[in-house]
Subunit: 319 residues, 3 copies
């Protein structure tokens, strides 16, 4: 897409030459043909080293844009990023791609739908009414139970099992809101990558990344009705028990356990071998590995047990 | 259905003439050919002004039924309302309706099922294994991702996007219980109306009204795994984050934000521009707009922060 | 499967004759052709009366194995039980079974998939894209809304209604973890039995038992987005409100009510006619019937109300 056209759509002044912009990306990951943005003061630190060809900023931030990038100055960069994200969204189903490839020994139910450009490995079982989108990939020996939906561009490894009615790669929950309180969708142009030996329960939802990838690492176990937000990284052999929810951009190390109905806020880092009891609510990053937590607000499990004792006594004193 | 037959089924005495009853409805909304009921003393105030042709009541309430209505006196009006609701339920799929109408430019997957009497507008994308029931309607430019289910009579506006495995219009959770503890289903004969520019995530469930309509107003954003109960009204541009749950008959104004895993009780009113932090539990109506709440029981967010501080100190004093 | 082969796979010494082992089961329920295991010291009490032909144990427990059983001694019995469970898993779809049987008057959508060996009773409505697996059974007059998935061997009674995108019989969340933190799936070889007159909402998940059966008894009402873990028993006329979660092997008596977003730990017993308010978290068995509880940790509802009053005063004293 021509940078001139982009500038026009978002209402930024740009009088330079035509430049072809291929994608949108974060400041850190954008390459020299890509568009990025600064939506929040805390990302200004990433500006000076960004390779993005053009960056959407507000007037205050304009001077920090590096010399090799074009500054596109607008009043509300986050909102204008949302406006332009639509133009970089791939088509939902790409009919121009090659016929899907199915590996030897795979059993595909007649009612399963596999879109063009998709690949299914060897000895897979793809059951009734499964949908596998454009360019999606499934490894070897993987079982997708009925009604599993895999959105376009998502990748599932080998030796995985995904239970019925689960969704891989639906859009992350992203939008910008203007002064009138109206929301503008941020198109979610990334994907989901699920590594080998992962089992996922039924009616679980794993959102695709806004940019980049939501990762479910090797050996992870996810139960039913779990929510994993966009751009999360779930570490090797981690365990997410039923009805837990992981907010966007949270990264966990290996062997983290999230108990039933527990949850995390977004943009956190959780150290390896951390265990969260059922109903834990995590609002800050966990730096030290190997600890057990409980409660909301979160505290170490042994403190939580003491607190419960105090509450019990508090109740009794007035009976 | 003949009023004589209705009386016989629910065990009420009625010796008048045959009267055709067309529907069941609430006291407030029932018209002169409809049947209503008083299941709870708090609705007696609506009796005197009701236009219902016949009203199921108990012996104590009988004399308050207006002169132009027939009182059908039973021991347990709520249970008998449930008994008779079954007779007013429309057939699940109405084969007598016209062939479905599909607007120009819409792309319907071959495996999608669109029932008779349904209408899909222009330039829609209806993906694999979607089900759209009898008399349901979808506006223009709307995307329904794979396996979305839209029950009969529900209406979805234009420029909407609904993600995979989401259900629009399943039955509200309604039943009456007798003295033996046995439940009798209250057939949910209303619908769901989703206005324009609404996005709904994956595996979310929005229940149809018992009578009347569950409304999702213009510009609303709903995340994954959210529950919206029957007869709710979700105000314009409101935001329901993942795993939140709105109990039946709760009405929220515009731009209400419900954080992740938050919930409301039923029959509440929530003022516009209210923000509920993650895990909030709302048990009373919120009258004043623009405030931020947290916790369960609910309190203003700034008080909740103070309370957390106190709890932290309480823990430390005994360490 | 030959006991010699089993011993070889799990690395246990066995020099006896060839014995055909037909299934895996719990110590209590195993018959004389079945394999069992002791994974936890608390089950040692069941050893002396077990009829299992062979029992996987560690060296410490070996001597408690009854004389008529073969002791298969390994270092980590739970992990080796997981290893061998795979060999007893039935095929996902058994093409050798008879064509499915459909009762008189049942209406099966053309896009529904009914596997071999399945039976559907009379006057059922099986809607679009429903999947009914091998050997599964559905009684009379039952309605399965679109995209319901019933896994193999599960049984659904008569006069039931199951709403869209709900999953019956997906695998329970079971695995053993070795010293490296790697998980090994415990194949879930049991089933789900749903008795008559049960209604289940949309996007609810009910897991099949590891061994034996997950029971949903007569007259139960289950709302949307509810999780029922493997080997649970939900008593007659019990009510599970939206987003509640019942952990594995919990048994409840009749007419238990679980409020919205409430949950139980696993392996509990809950007395009949117990009511849990919304968000209750149940961590211990409830012995006395007819009480009302709330909170997490759980307390009687009247105490919970007092506690809320104290918290309210605690907040006010510092304002």
């Amino acid at each position: 897409m021509d940078l001139k056209e982009i500038a026009k759509i978002i209402g930024a002044e740009y009088n330079g030459e035509s430049i072809e912009i291929t994608r949108m990306n974060t400041l850190k990951e954008a390459t020299q043909s890509e568009l990025s943005f600064v939506s929040n003061a805390k990302y200004i630190k990433d500006l000076s080293t960004s390779h993005a060809k053009a960056i959407i900023v507000d007037a205050k931030t304009k001077d920090a844009v590096p010399a090799n990038s074009v500054a596109l100055v607008v009043e509300n960069p986050y909102y204008q990023m949302a406006v332009i994200s639509r133009y970089f969204a791939p088509v939902i189903e790409d009919e121009s791609l090659a016929e899907p490839m199915i590996g030897e020994g795979s059993r595909i139910a007649p009612s399963a739908v596999i879109a063009k450009g998709a690949k299914v490995g060897k000895n897979c079982t793809i059951m009734a009414n499964v949908y596998i989108g454009s360019n999606a990939e499934v490894g070897d020996n993987t079982v997708l139970y009925p009604n599993v939906v895999v959105y376009r561009d998502c990748k599932i490894g080998s030796d995985c099992m995904i239970h019925a009615n689960t969704t891989i790669g639906s859009d992350g929950f992203g939008f910008a809101t203007n002064r009138m309180g109206e929301h503008k969708k941020i198109y979610q142009n990334g994907n989901v990558v699920i590594e080998d030996d992962v089992e996922i329960g039924s009616s679980t939802t794993i959102d695709r990344a806004a940019f980049g990838t939501t990762f479910i690492k090797k050996g992870v176990r996810i139960d039913n009705l779990v929510q994993v937000g966009h751009n999360c990284v779930i570490g090797e052999y981690s365990v997410l028990v039923a009805q837990s929810g992981i907010s966007g951009s949270t990264t966990m190390g290996r062997n983290v356990v999230m108990g039933g109905q527990s949850a995390t806020a977004g943009h956190l880092e959780i150290a390896p071998f951390t265990t969260m009891a059922a109903r834990s609510g995590v609002t800050k990053s966990i730096k030290q590995s190997g600890l057990i937590f409980a409660g909301f607000p979160l505290m170490e499990h042994k403190l939580w047990l003491k607190l419960q004792g105090k509450i019990a006594r508090l109740i009794k004193t007035e009976q």
